[in-house]
């Protein structure tokens, strides 16, 4: 029997707010253990949570980007379970009335455009970390770092719309790009800023009923997500072919051995006993708040890419490279405001600019070349005032010295020589200096034409317009 796989994702998006969700502690990653804590995020007796308004702003922007319906009134709930890195014994999350519901996100896969339905997005606090692997932890010890406690998360839950692992990982990649565009998450999967669980089940093709699903955890790269889901589909297929039941369970992806292992039942058989969080009053989102965020929303990645192709007439490849990172796209767009030839601008960003970023290992806002400066240089290229080759040299020197490229061109007299009389003078000189070659040429050794062009270019210090030189030289020699 042919089976169809049914895949849904739950993605935890760690928000890059300055402070935590319910207290004023910094939310940044990487500080010394237990230095970014206070009575609230340590869950000390008597401490109470107060919602960070910035989290609502971030949640609104993701809700808008995923076309969700924002609930005018939302509730927090307590999710109860015991774990040493969960200092209150419950996580403040959302259950009934989440932040927003019923949206959709369109993105591209290798096979074309795909739209996944979004069930809900809710806010919650992160837990701390149990530390085992550090050098200061003894073999029989577990230490607890509470720095991450209370870092804000958005959990996005998709409908089980994916049919192939590739769709799931393509979605995750797009979502990463999206949250980076929105500036709400750094998207770093290795550091856990973006965490993904997958629900996988199989059903006979054509059936509308869902099979028993398993939950996959611990996939911390796009590749792992794809591999783990593929592994799980195959495992379930094998079970079903042997007429064995699929158990509803949670599996951990073991990247080293490329297998998904069931968690011990105790570790997940929770009854979370959700109930409304009495320490926080019901939250309200006003149309005014939404409008304020909407007004600042960036153009989303897919729309931007489409516009580059359709309006700027760029190849799909260029559009993809340029829109991958919103800051690159913004650099490119500033450049385009001053440069007519969009393909020329695209080539320069994809070539010189990206290469420079890579070589210098810097972000684009640290690059010593504003898009306005580069635009000045490209205008000279467009005018034919400087050759591509020279322009690249100027670009490199400008990066190294920080001097504006156009200023550099003028200082060094690097403008291209297109003036006919000037070029004719140079040609005269060259021919005078090489009488033997001239005689040979006239005797029929036409290959020497290239030699003369080269000599003229050299004499001009590379500034001569090569096309013009050929024209003039041909006229002169045919006399």
């Amino acid at each position: 029997m042919p089976y169809e796989s049914v895949i849904g994702l739950e993605v935890h998006i760690q928000l890059s707010t300055a402070t935590k969700i319910f207290c004023n502690c910094p939310a940044q990653f990487g500080a010394q253990p237990n230095t970014q804590v206070c009575p609230v995020c340590m869950g000390l007796p008597g401490a109470l949570p107060v919602l960070n308004e910035k989290v609502i702003e971030f949640a609104i922007s993701l809700a808008l980007a995923s076309n969700c319906r924002i609930n005018p009134c939302f509730l927090f709930a307590r999710k109860n379970y015991f774990y040493p890195d969960l200092p209150k014994g419950y996580q403040i999350s959302q259950f009934d009335l989440p932040f927003c519901e019923q949206g959709h996100i369109g993105f591209e896969t290798a096979a074309g455009l795909f739209t996944v339905a979004i069930r809900r997005i809710h806010m919650e606090e992160d837990a701390g970390k149990s530390v085992h692997a550090e050098s200061y932890v003894a073999a029989d010890e577990t230490l607890i770092d509470l720095n991450r406690c209370g870092v804000p998360l958005l959990e996005l839950v998709t409908e089980p719309d994916f049919r192939q692992p590739e769709q799931a990982s393509a979605f995750l990649m797009y979502l990463r790009q999206l949250v980076r565009y929105l500036g709400i998450c750094d998207g770093n999967m290795e550091e856990g800023s973006l965490r993904c669980d997958a629900n996988v089940s199989l059903r006979p093709r054509g059936s509308a009923e869902l099979g028993t699903k398993t939950e996959l955890k611990n996939m911390n790269s796009f590749r792992h997500v794809e591999r783990a889901i593929a592994f799980e589909i195959e495992r379930q297929q094998n079970l079903l072919r042997r007429h064995e039941p699929v158990m509803q369970e949670t599996l951990l992806w073991d990247a080293a051995h490329q297998v998904a292992q069931p968690m011990r039942s105790k570790e997940y058989s929770h009854d979370y006993r959700y109930f409304p969080e009495p320490d926080l009053t019901p939250g309200r989102v006003t149309p005014g708040q939404i409008d304020k965020v909407r007004a600042r929303m960036p153009e989303l990645p897919l729309a931007k890419k489409t516009r580059y192709i359709e309006t700027l007439d760029l190849p799909a490849y260029d559009a993809a490279v340029l829109t991958d990172d919103i800051r690159i796209a913004e650099y490119f767009e500033t450049l385009c405001r001053h440069v007519e030839d969009k393909k020329l601008a695209s080539n320069w960003v994809m070539g010189e600019v990206l290469r420079a970023l890579k070589e210098q290992d810097v972000e684009i806002d640290q690059l010593k070349m504003t898009p306005e400066s580069l635009a000045g240089l490209l205008q000279q290229v467009e005018k034919g005032a400087i050759s591509h080759t020279l322009a690249k040299k100027v670009f490199a020197e400008s990066l190294a010295t920080g001097t504006d490229p156009v200023v550099l061109m003028q200082q060094q007299g690097l403008s291209q020589v297109t003036d006919e009389s000037a070029l004719t003078d140079i040609i005269q000189d060259v021919l005078k200096q090489h009488p033997a070659e001239l005689a040979d040429y006239r005797a029929g050794k036409e290959k020497l034409f290239g030699f003369f062009v080269g000599q003229v270019m050299r004499a001009s210090g590379g500034r001569a317009d090569a096309k013009k030189v050929s024209e003039l030289l041909r006229t002169r020699l045919s006399k």
Partner: protein, 496 residues
């Protein structure tokens, strides 16, 4: 009159006239605490910190820089965190816990120049109505040592009644201020939910808990409430509403005031003596120009059940943090993580707390949530509506605080359900989030105090204070009791 049994008004007079200073007053209270050790009102006594603080306040007074509560010596229920001493909540699991921060109310009281004399005994985590559920021993009613002082703020009530302090702070989740105030002959106020910041109050049931004063007089209650009330950005459930001048409700009459009497609070379960006293007070108010109206709170019979479901559900989560992993009591030699939790919590919590955690866990469990927690929330809404309707006809409601006076130590210990039922007239107010005050209303045949409860509409603490103050000034059974200090030790040996 013995100054230890004076209200703050009288103390302030003595201070101003130079007959008294804070240092002597504090020392006198400390002496009384030592002499009255058998009451067991305190878990911690600040005998080292309080005298120095009193001298500081005296210095401020000499320079006319003292705050409004200079000279008020306060006992604080041990579920309010302070960055001095330990905060135990009456539990073994927090036996040696010290808080790194002060509760908001403690900060406010410190700023107002109050002096803290110690932390009072209580039913463990506020769970009890007799102060017999404390890891630090039971508390005796200063009026008669064989009787309970009420709970869970039993230590706070006993401390004020026994002359160990000027006033005290308690917390009230289902009657934990008003019932001990009634049992010990004091004024006790549970403010409107959100009137006083809960930041730094170790939570029992977050949607019901409020901090409030236990005092000898309505006037003292008003002064204390004035200081501790107000919005707190650290408590999302605190109300951002202006705080009225509570003193302006004192020394007023009751002419034209509509006093609602809920029939459900005068049923056959109420002691005859209590009925009689409360009805006599109603008669006095009527004579004094108040308009008495009969009202009905039809969902009263469901209040106890709804309260114990909601309170225990919230408590089961609030107490989850006490797991032996990070602070507080940790059982020795657990074999693994689960054993650490199970042993620490089994050994650290007392029987009543464990009973309530299990009940609370059960009512939230999948498959039972709707039948219990969901239904209790609906009852809560109905109870709120009962009150809303009642307040269309009345400005404030009047009822007994408790169906009985203080009961004997040990009497209800083996019968939790009977114990729970003693909260029958106090829990509805918490479910509805309303302010309510207990004021003395005479004594029963054993000489035990009777409490009269005044229930106000949202933020109408002033109305409760107005009637309580009026009664205390004009109706002798409500006056701050004349008190015999030796009674606290009476029949000490016969008691449990």
């Amino acid at each position: 009159m013995n100054v230890a049994f004076s209200d703050f008004d009288a103390i302030k007079k003595s201070l101003t006239q130079g007959e008294l200073n804070c240092a002597d007053l504090t020392q006198m209270y400390l002496d009384y605490i030592r002499q009255g050790a058998q009451v067991n009102a305190f878990i911690s006594v600040f005998d080292e910190q309080a005298p120095g603080r009193a001298m500081d306040i005296d210095r401020k007074r000499r320079h006319h820089k003292a705050g409004p509560l200079a000279g008020m010596v306060l006992a604080i229920k041990d579920n309010l965190v302070m960055d001095q001493g330990r905060t135990t909540c009456g539990s073994n699991i927090l036996q040696s816990f010290t808080s790194p921060y002060d509760a908001t109310v403690i900060q406010k009281l410190t700023d107002a120049d109050a002096i803290f004399i110690g932390k009072t005994n209580m039913d463990e985590f506020g769970m009890g109505s007799s102060n017999e559920n404390s890891a630090f021993g039971l508390v005796r009613n200063p009026h008669d040592g064989q009787y309970v002082p009420g709970g869970s703020s039993g230590g706070s009530a006993a401390a004020v009644a026994a002359g160990f302090c000027t006033a005290a702070l308690g917390s009230d989740t289902g009657g934990s201020i008003r019932q001990p105030a009634a049992f010990c002959g004091l004024v006790g106020l549970k403010p409107t939910y959100g009137r006083v910041s809960r930041y730094g109050l170790v939570a029992f049931a977050s949607s019901l808990d409020q901090i409030g004063p236990l005092t000898r007089s309505a006037g003292d209650c008003a002064e204390l409430l004035q200081v501790i009330s107000g919005h707190d950005i650290r408590d999302a459930t605190s109300m951002d509403e202006p705080v009225p001048e509570y003193a302006s409700f004192l020394r007023r009459d009751v002419t034209g005031l509509r006093v609602g009497v809920p029939g459900e609070y005068f049923d056959e379960g109420v002691d005859a003596g209590v009925q009689k006293s409360v009805k006599a007070a109603i008669g006095f108010l009527q004579q004094s120009g108040a308009q008495v109206v009969d009202i009905s709170l039809p969902h009263t019979p469901y209040a106890i059940a709804a309260y114990y479901i909601i309170a225990n559900a919230e408590a089961s989560a609030n107490l989850a943090r006490f797991d032996g992993a990070r602070y507080g009591f940790r059982a020795k030699a657990p074999s693994d993580l689960e054993a650490l939790y199970v042993k620490s919590r089994s050994q650290g919590f007392g029987a009543e707390v464990k009973r309530r955690i299990m009940l609370g866990t059960f009512v939230l469990s999948s498959g039972y949530y709707e039948a219990y927690f969901g239904k209790a929330q609906k009852v809560r809404t109905l109870i709120r509506q009962d009150f809303a309707r009642a307040f269309e006809k009345a400005d404030l409601l009047l009822a007994p605080t408790c169906p009985t006076t203080a009961f004997r130590i040990g009497e209800k210990l083996d019968d939790p359900l009977t114990m729970y039922l003693s909260d029958i007239f106090t829990v509805s107010v918490n479910l509805a989030g309303l302010p309510a005050l207990s004021v003395p209303c005479g004594k029963d045949q054993q000489g035990l105090p009777i409490g009269l409860q005044l229930i106000g509409n949202h933020l109408q603490e002033g109305g409760c204070l107005r009637v309580a103050d009026f009664l205390q000034r004009h109706y002798p059974p409500s006056a701050p009791s004349e008190y015999i200090p030796s009674a606290a030790g009476k029949n000490d040996k016969e008691a449990l």
